[in-house]
C-alpha cells in the first residue's frame, strides 16, 4: 500500500494548487442574485457615535440594504469567549477600524462605493494607544494573571547577582494571502449554509446563530481549504461569517463578504505585542535562582482570545530552563487598538523571549559564554518540574541542543566570526543558539477533543471527514494517512471531505498545533471501529477467527486453516453491505491525562512537550542597521513524524514567519491610533531573498513520542516558529561585537534596520 503513516506524501491538493484548480471561497460560483458586502469602519480610535447617517449609502446605485446594530435579530455580540464584543458598534467606538455598519449591493464596487458615502460623526475621547498608557491607567481586559513558585522576592534578595531587564516585542499581522471571506447562502425555513475561510467552523456556526437568534442546527459552516490562517482566522473569521449570514438572513439572498487587504488589516486583530520588565537572580556559575517578571500584552480593545495568549506566555516564560523561584505576572492591557488574537505560537513566542534576554545579560555580567549558561540552566533530573507543576518528561533538550550545535558547527563558526569582526569595522556578524520546549495541547482542557466521520463505500473508496480545517499545513493528507494505515489501503482511496459542522459537530478550532493529534486521533478511532466491524463480519462469513482476518496491501486475507481466501478491500466492503453491516462510523478523541486550574495556574496542561533547537548567523551594517540572516540550522522534534515532507515544510515556513516577526514585520500606528501599515507595500513580510541562504533542517531522529499520540507522532505547527528566536539572539551578538568589553544589549523586536542601528549606537556610546 502507498501512503500510510510516516510516508513523505505530497500535499493532497498540490496538483490543484499549481494548476489553479483548487477553489477558495471567492472562487465558488455565485448564484444569481448574490449580493456583495462592504463594511463601514470607524475612523476614530475612541469616542461616542454622535451620528451615523446611512441615507446616502442606502440610496446609492445597486444598494439593497445597509445593516447596522439594530438590524441584528439576535444578539449583537461576536465574542469568542467573552461577551459584549459587538459586530457593529453601538453608542461608542473603541478602535479605528471598528465595524459600524455594512452595505449590501449587487456588485462589490457598488457596495464599496456606497460604504464610502456614510456620514460618520464621532466625538473623539482620549484613547489609550500603547501598553505603557494602559499600564499607567491600569486598564485591563481581564484581571492580571499570576504564575508563581517558591518565593521569588526572597530568593532574589539572597542571590549573589541580580540584574534587571526591559524590552519589547511588536505584534504581527497574519498576512494570510487569502483575506478574510465568507459566503452565506440562505436555504428554506431559516437554514443557512455558510462558506467561511475559518479555522473554527463550530464557532462560525455559533456566532451566526447568535446574531440571527436561531438554533445552531439551522447553520451549517463549511470550508474546503483556507488560503492561510496562522491563527488569524480563528475568532476573526467568525464575525466576518456572522456579518455575511446576517446579510443573507436579512435579504434572503446569498451574501459574500470579502475584506479587501486594507480593511482586513485595519479591522482584524494580530499577534499581541508585549512589554517586559524583569529581575533575575543567579549564582556565580550563572545558575538562575529566581525570576521576577512582568509581561504586559497589548490585548487591544476587547478580550477576544487574550486570556489564553497571556496564559501561554506565562507558561512558556521558563522555556527550556529550570527556574526554582518564579513570580510572573501577565497584564492584558486594554488599549484602543485592534483586538489582538491568536497567532501561531499563541503567546509562546512572546514568553520564550524573556529568558533569552536574561541569560545574555547574565553572561555579559559574569563574562561567561552565554550558550554554556543556557545549557547549565536546562531542565534536568531533579530540576524537572515547571513552575505550573507539570514534570518535564521525555526531555530531549540535551539531544536537540547538541545536534543543532553540531549541525551548525557552532564552535568553528564562533571563531570565524570573531576573526571577521576583528577586521571589519562596518559589518559585524553574530551567532545565536536557541533551545525550545513548547507545550502541546490547548491550555483549556475541554478544547482537547475531536470528532471524525468515516464512510466506506461499497467500491472500497473511503470518505473522510473530521473537524480539522486545511489551511495549507497538510492536515488533510496527514489524517488521510492515518486512515490509510488503519485499513492498509492506498492513500488515494481516501477522499478528504470539506470540513463541515454537518459532518462533525461541536469541534475545536484547528489551532494550538493540535490538528493532527486530535483529528488524527479521532479518525483513527473511526477507522478502527469500521475495521473491527469488517473484521468481525469477514470472520463470520468465512468461518475464520477474527485474528485470521488480515488487512494488508489493499487486500483482506482470510488466513483460516485450510483456506487462503483473499479479497480486495472493496470486495469486503461490498460483502459487508450485503451482510447489512454499517460502513459508516464516527470516531472521537480526547487527550488523556490533562488538567488545569486557571485560578492557581497549576496543573498538567500539556499532553507532552515538543523540543527543538536552532543556530542562526546574521550580519549587520553598523552604519544603517540593515541586517541579513546568513545561515540557520534547525533541529525539531516531530516525534515519529506522520509525514516528514509536510513537517519539513511546516518547520521551514514557521521559522521564516518567526524571523519576519522578529526582524522586518513592523506594525505602525499614527498618533491618533490609526494603523498605517495596511498592505504589503507598507507591511513587509519576508521575501525569498530573506530566507537564510544556508538553511539546514533536521527532524529529530529516533524520537517517537513517549505518550500515546497517533502513531507516536508529534505536533509541528507552532514550535518551529520560535526557533527564529536564534535570529534575535544572533543580532544582539553582532551588536555586542561593536565593542570589546562585554555589556548588556537591548534590542526590541522587530529588529528593523532602525532598531538595530539604535542598539548599535547605544552600544558604541558606552565606549
Amino acid at each position: 500500500m502507498k501512503g500510510g503513516a510516516h510516508a513523505a506524501e505530497r500535499h493532497d491538493s498540490a496538483l490543484r494548487h499549481v494548476t489553479g484548480g483548487a477553489a477558495y471561497i471567492d472562487d465558488l460560483p455565485e448564484p444569481p442574485g448574490t449580493l456583495h458586502a462592504a463594511l463601514i469602519l470607524s475612523p476614530i480610535a475612541h469616542g461616542r457615535i454622535a451620528m451615523l447617517d446611512l441615507g446616502a449609502a442606502r440610496t446609492a446605485p445597486g444598494v439593497v440594504a445597509v445593516l447596522g446594530p439594530h438590524d441584528i435579530p439576535g444578539r449583537n455580540d461576536v465574542a469568542a469567549i467573552g461577551k459584549d464584543e459587538p459586530l457593529f458598534a453601538e453608542g461608542r467606538v473603541y478602535f479605528a477600524g471598528q465595524p459600524l455598519a455594512m452595505v449590501l449591493a449587487d456588485t462589490l464596487d457598488r457596495a464599496r462605493a456606497a460604504a464610502a458615502l456614510a456620514r460618520i460623526e464621532i466625538v473623539a475621547e482620549p484613547a489609550i494607544l500603547s501598553i505603557d498608557a494602559a499600564l499607567a491607567a491600569e486598564t485591563w481586559v481581564q484581571a492580571p494573571a499570576r504564575l508563581a513558585r517558591g518565593d521569588a522576592p526572597a530568593a532574589l534578595a539572597r542571590a549573589p547577582h541580580r540584574l534587571t531587564g526591559e524590552f519589547r516585542c511588536g505584534g504581527q499581522e497574519h498576512f494570510y494571502l487569502e483575506g478574510q471571506i465568507a459566503f452565506a447562502l440562505p436555504g428554506e425555513d431559516g437554514d443557512m449554509l455558510v462558506h467561511s475561510s475559518t479555522q473554527h467552523p463550530t464557532e462560525v456556526q455559533h456566532i451566526c446563530a447568535r446574531l440571527l437568534g436561531c438554533d445552531f442546527n439551522r447553520i451549517t459552516a463549511t470550508v474546503r481549504r483556507l488560503g492561510g490562517g496562522f491563527g488569524g482566522k480563528e475568532s476573526n473569521a467568525s464575525w466576518v461569517a456572522g456579518a455575511a449570514a446576517l446579510g443573507a438572513g436579512h435579504t434572503g439572498r446569498p451574501v459574500k463578504l470579502r475584506l479587501p487587504r486594507e480593511i482586513d488589516m485595519v479591522a482584524t486583530g494580530k499577534r499581541h505585542g508585549f512589554l517586559y520588565r524583569y529581575e533575575v537572580g543567579f549564582d556565580d556559575e550563572g545558575r538562575v535562582l529566581a525570576l521576577d517578571a512582568m509581561l504586559a500584552a497589548d490585548a487591544g480593545w476587547s478580550l477576544d482570545l487574550t486570556p489564553g495568549v497571556v496564559t501561554r506566555a506565562l507558561t512558556h516564560i521558563d522555556n527550556a530552563y529550570f527556574i526554582p523561584h518564579l513570580r510572573a505576572v501577565g497584564y492584558a492591557c486594554r488599549t484602543n487598538l485592534q483586538s489582538n488574537t491568536a497567532f501561531r505560537g499563541f503567546g509562546g513566542p512572546q514568553g520564550v523571549l524573556v529568558m533569552e534576554d536574561a541569560i545574555d545579560r547574565m553572561a555579559a555580567h559574569l563574562g561567561r559564554n552565554a550558550d554554556a549558561l543556557r545549557a547549565l540552566n536546562f531542565y534536568a533530573r531533579g530540576r524537572d518540574t515547571t513552575p505550573y507543576g507539570q514534570p518535564v518528561t521525555e526531555n530531549h533538550l540535551p539531544r536537540v541542543w547538541a545536534e543543532a550545535r553540531q549541525l551548525g558547527e557552532v564552535e568553528r563558526r564562533r571563531a570565524e566570526i570573531a576573526a571577521f569582526n576583528a577586521t571589519s569595522p562596518i559589518l559585524k556578524r553574530g551567532l545565536g543558539v536557541f533551545p525550545l520546549k513548547f507545550g502541546i495541547s490547548f491550555n483549556s482542557p475541554h478544547m482537547n477533543q475531536a470528532g471524525a466521520l468515516v464512510h466506506v463505500y461499497t467500491d472500497g473508496s473511503i470518505r473522510l471527514a473530521h473537524g480539522g480545517t486545511e489551511m495549507g499545513q497538510g492536515l488533510f493528507v496527514k489524517v488521510a494517512q492515518v486512515v490509510a494505515e488503519v485499513f492498509q489501503v492506498d492513500l488515494d482511496r481516501i477522499r478528504p471531505a470539506a470540513t463541515s459542522t454537518a459532518d462533525v459537530p461541536n469541534t475545536s478550532p484547528t489551532a494550538a498545533s493540535t490538528g493532527s493529534d486530535l483529528n488524527g486521533g479521532a479518525a483513527f478511532e473511526a477507522a478502527r471501529e469500521l475495521k473491527r466491524r469488517m473484521t468481525a463480519y469477514a470472520a463470520e462469513h468465512f468461518g475464520a477467527a477474527e485474528a485470521d482476518v488480515v488487512f494488508a496491501d489493499n487486500q483482506v486475507r482470510i488466513a483460516a486453516p485450510g483456506s487462503n481466501q483473499v479479497l480486495s478491500f472493496g470486495e469486503l466492503a461490498q460483502l459487508c453491505w450485503l451482510g447489512r453491516v454499517s460502513l459508516s462510523a464516527t470516531g472521537y478523541y480526547r487527550t488523556p491525562g490533562i488538567h488545569w486550574d486557571p485560578a492557581t495556574m497549576q496543573g498538567r496542561p500539556f499532553f507532552y512537550y515538543s523540543f527543538g533547537a536552532s543556530v542562526a548567523e546574521v550580519a549587520i551594517d553598523t552604519l544603517t542597521g540593515e541586517n541579513r540572516v546568513l545561515r540557520a540550522d534547525l533541529v525539531q522534534d516531530c516525534g515519529r513524524s506522520l509525514n516528514p515532507a509536510i513537517d519539513l515544510g511546516q518547520i521551514e515556513g514557521a521559522f521564516v514567519q518567526g524571523q519576519g516577526w522578529l526582524t522586518c514585520e513592523e506594525l505602525w500606528w499614527d498618533d491618533r491610533g490609526r494603523l498605517r501599515t495596511v498592505g504589503p507595500s507598507t507591511y513587509k513580510i519576508p521575501g525569498s531573498r530573506d530566507v537564510p541562504p544556508v538553511l539546514n533542517v533536521r527532524l529529530l531522529e529516533n524520537a517517537p513520542a513517549e505518550v500515546a499520540t497517533v502513531f507516536r507522532s508529534k505536533a509541528v505547527g507552532e514550535p518551529p516558529l520560535m526557533l527564529a528566536t536564534a535570529v534575535w539572539t544572533a543580532l544582539r551578538d553582532a551588536i555586542a561585537a561593536c565593542r570589546q568589553a562585554p555589556g548588556p544589549i537591548r534590542l526590541d523586536a522587530p529588529a528593523t534596520p532602525e532598531r538595530v542601528l539604535a542598539a548599535v549606537r547605544a552600544r558604541q556610546a558606552k565606549s
Partner: protein
C-alpha cells in the same frame, strides 16, 4: 465609433465588447472570463498572487514575455497582447506544465493561494533562459509573497525549471492595429495614440485626462481604490517615447521606456545602478513601470528621482506649443507637484554620460531588501582628481516632501571631506516620522550613507553592505 480591445487569452482570440478599458485584468479574468486561478491578494501590485504572463510586441518591434501583476493592469493596456494565466499553462490533455510539476515535486505549495502567481513568475523565468543562480531566482521571485512555505522549496523548483520552458512566441498579427485606438465603455475613455504628435494633440485637448505609462502607480486607483480615472491617455504605444539613444554625451531615455527596457543602458554606464534597479519594485513592476512615470508622479519616495538629480539629468518636455528642456533640479516643485504644464508630456530624460574621473554610487535603505519602498534613497555623482573630490552632486529621497539635492553635503564633500559631509547630510533635511522610519533614523543614516560612500572610495573592493556577505 469606439474600438474594441482584442487580445489572446490562453491562445484563444478574444474581443471584448462591454468591458471598460479601466477594468483591471484581474477582475476581467475572474469575473468575466471565469478564470479563478488568478488570485487577488493585495490589489496593489505587491503580493504577486495575481501574476500572469504577457507576451507583446515592444515599441522596438521585439517580442517580450514578462510576468505582470494582473491586479493593476488595465484592460486597455492589454490590447494586442497575449495573456497567459495559470489555467493556460496546463496542456490540452490536462497534464501539468513542467513548471507546475516542479512545484508539486518540491512540495512548494502549502495553502496554495499564492501558488498560481508563483507558477506564472516561474514560467516567465523558465522561458527567459536565465541560469538557476540564486541571485537571479530571488530577483525573479521578488514580486511574489508566500506566507506558508518559507520559500526554500519554491527556490528549489525554480532551480529545476531554469531555462527549460521553450515556447514559441504567439502570433499576434491578427491583433495588430494600424494606428491609434480609442476604447470607450461606460463613461470611461482610454485613448492609445501611436505617434507623439497625436499624443500631444490629445494632451492639449484633454488636460484633465490622466497620463498612463505602465499603470504601476495609477493602476491602484482601479484596483485598490476602485475609482479609475474617467479619461486616460495611454503613452506606451508611442514609439518616440520608447527610444533609448545616445545623443552626444548624453543617454536619452524615452519617458515610456519601462524599467526593464531602460536597465541595460543605465547599467552599462552606471554599474552601481544594477543592484539598485534590481531592488526597485519587482520584475512584474519593472516590466510595466517607467522611470518617466516615476518622475511624473513626483513621489518623494520614488527611487529614480535621486538618481536623475545626482546625474544632473535634463527632461525633454513637449506640448503642441513645442519642446523645452527642464533641468531636473527645476522639475520638482512640491509634494507631488512638478513643472509640467497641463498640456505637456515628458518625452525623454537625458542623462549626461560619465566623464573621466567621475564616480557614481547609489543606495537604497528599506525594511526589506526586495520590493520595498525606500526609507531613504541616495545617489552620488562625484568628480575626482586623484583621491580628491572636486565636484559633487548628491541627492536624497525620503528626506523631504520632494526628492532633493543636498547642496551643503555636496559643498562639504569638496571642501571638508567625508566626515564633514556626513555631518552636513545629517543636518541638511527635516524629514518626517512615518512607518518606514523616524526622522531621527533618516537623519542619522543620511550621514552614515555618506560615511559608507567614504568607505567605498577608500577601498572600492571591500564589501560595505551585508548583502555582499
Amino acid at each position: 465609433m469606439a474600438d474594441r480591445i482584442r487580445l489572446l487569452l490562453n491562445d484563444a482570440e478574444v474581443e471584448t465588447a462591454d468591458v471598460s478599458p479601466m477594468t483591471t485584468l484581474l477582475d476581467w479574468l475572474r469575473d468575466t472570463r471565469g478564470l479563478k486561478g488568478t488570485k487577488e491578494g493585495c490589489a496593489e501590485g505587491d503580493c504577486g498572487a495575481c501574476t500572469v504572463v504577457v507576451e507583446r510586441r515592444a515599441a522596438d518591434g521585439t517580442m517580450r514575455r514578462e510576468a505582470i501583476n494582473a491586479c493593476i493592469a488595465l484592460m486597455g493596456q492589454l490590447d494586442g497582447a497575449s495573456v497567459r494565466t495559470v489555467e493556460g499553462l496546463t496542456g490540452s490533455d490536462g497534464a501539468p506544465h513542467a513548471v507546475q510539476a516542479a512545484f508539486t515535486e518540491t512540495d512548494a505549495t502549502q495553502c496554495g493561494f499564492c501558488t498560481p502567481g508563483f507558477v506564472m513568475s516561474a514560467f516567465a523565468f523558465a522561458a527567459g533562459g536565465e541560469r538557476g543562480a540564486d541571485g537571479a531566482i530571488h530577483e525573479a521571485l521578488a514580486g511574489n509573497l508566500c506566507r506558508c512555505t518559507g520559500y526554500r522549496p519554491i527556490v528549489e523548483a525554480m532551480r529545476r525549471v531554469a531555462g527549460t520552458a521553450v515556447a514559441p512566441p504567439p502570433d499576434l498579427s491578427a491583433l495588430a492595429r494600424g494606428g491609434d485606438a480609442c476604447f470607450e465603455v461606460g463613461g470611461h475613455r482610454f485613448v492609445a495614440p501611436t505617434t507623439l504628435a497625436v499624443a500631444l494633440r490629445l494632451r492639449a485637448a484633454h488636460p484633465d485626462a490622466a497620463l498612463l505609462a505602465g499603470a504601476t502607480d495609477l493602476g491602484l486607483l482601479a484596483s485598490r481604490h476602485r475609482k479609475p480615472p474617467a479619461s486616460l491617455i495611454h503613452l506606451a504605444r508611442v514609439p518616440e517615447l520608447h527610444r533609448i539613444d545616445r545623443v552626444g554625451d548624453s543617454i536619452s531615455l524615452g519617458a515610456a521606456a519601462s524599467y526593464a527596457d531602460a536597465t541595460p543602458a543605465l547599467v552599462e554606464h552606471w554599474p552601481a545602478l544594477a543592484p539598485y534597479l534590481s531592488r526597485l519594485g519587482s520584475r512584474q513592476i519593472r516590466a510595466m513601470g517607467t522611470p518617466g512615470g516615476n518622475l511624473g508622479t513626483a513621489s518623494p519616495i520614488g527611487d529614480m528621482p535621486p538618481v536623475f538629480l545626482a546625474l544632473g539629468a535634463a527632461l525633454r518636455i513637449a506640448s503642441v506649443r513645442g519642446e523645452r528642456r527642464v533641468a531636473i533640479d527645476e522639475f520638482f516643485l512640491g509634494y507631488r507637484r512638478t513643472a509640467l504644464a497641463p498640456d505637456e508630456i515628458i518625452v525623454a530624460i537625458d542623462c549626461p554620460l560619465p566623464r573621466a574621473g567621475e564616480v557614481f554610487h547609489c543606495d537604497k535603505l528599506s525594511k526589506r531588501r526586495d520590493q520595498d519602498i525606500s526609507t531613504v534613497a541616495a545617489a552620488y555623482r562625484l568628480q575626482l582628481e586623484g583621491a580628491r573630490i572636486v565636484g559633487a552632486r548628491v541627492a536624497f529621497g525620503g528626506m523631504a516632501a520632494t526628492p532633493l539635492r543636498a547642496p551643503r553635503t555636496e559643498a562639504a564633500l569638496i571642501e571638508g571631506g567625508i566626515e564633514a559631509a556626513a555631518r552636513a547630510a545629517e543636518a541638511e533635511f527635516t524629514p518626517l516620522d512615518d512607518w518606514r522610519g523616524s526622522a531621527d533614523y533618516r537623519r542619522t543614516v543620511a550621514g552614515n550613507l555618506i560615511r559608507r560612500l567614504g568607505a567605498r572610495l577608500a577601498s572600492p573592493a571591500r564589501a560595505v553592505e551585508v548583502e555582499a556577505l
